[in-house]
Symmetry: C2
């Protein structure tokens, strides 16, 4: 569900917002795509997510936030449309700001992990752990 690395951020955040509510790349990518396409089903298709799962993710957000993040209209000839509410738009923008901040401010910590991926010799010898 998430694109990444070469053309996107290397680190994407997941926020734990209390109770069972969390907000990560999946829900944000979905919200953004609904905003772009004007349709939950088109967004789900574009992201390769089953419609039912997309609907459940959005329902979780609508219930978890103080007001809805997305509103739908009953369909006329072109079917029902969907669009982000001002809260939904603010949420996507705030997530993007966090994501950008993370990737800029934690560059050295990210680089340390990348060194572990790329080169086994970067691992310093350590004392043996007990079993």
């Amino acid at each position: 569900m998430s694109s990444a690395t070469a053309f996107g951020p290397l680190v994407r955040p997941r926020l734990y917002l209390g109770g069972e509510l969390s907000l990560g790349p999946g829900k944000i990518d979905l919200l953004r795509k609904v905003g772009e396409t004007g349709s939950i089903s088109a967004a789900a298709r574009a992201l390769g997510v089953p419609y039912k799962r997309a609907w459940l993710l959005i329902d979780t957000l609508n219930r978890g936030f103080p007001s809805a993040v997305l509103e739908t209209a009953a369909g006329g000839r072109a079917g029902g449309g969907a669009r982000l509410t001002p809260l939904g738009e603010a949420l996507v923008a705030a997530y993007d700001a966090l994501e950008t901040k993370l990737n800029v401010s934690a560059q050295s910590e990210i680089a340390a992990i990348m060194r572990l991926v790329e080169s086994p010799v970067a691992v310093a010898p350590r004392s043996r752990r007990r079993r």
Copy 2:
């Protein structure tokens, strides 16, 4: 699979490491728990993850990194044990350092999202989007 908020970090990172390899809270919590329990099945049970999924997550890491993150021993009377390799330990430590850095450096961006969760009036009026 992830505990959070009150007693843990609010933001947990997922890193996209190139190709299909990613590293997020699920894999890190599992590695840490294997290190604590000395057993993949005990770790899976403690985290409420099916054993097969736990095994697949670890296999993905072992294949994606230049050397294994976890090693297993053939079982004697007590069954086979498992423990983190030095690379596995370094990986958990590096992830923890990143997680701590994120939560400290992005406090204002995190607070902005929390305000959206807690109060609908925090959303400034915006111009209507086109459908």
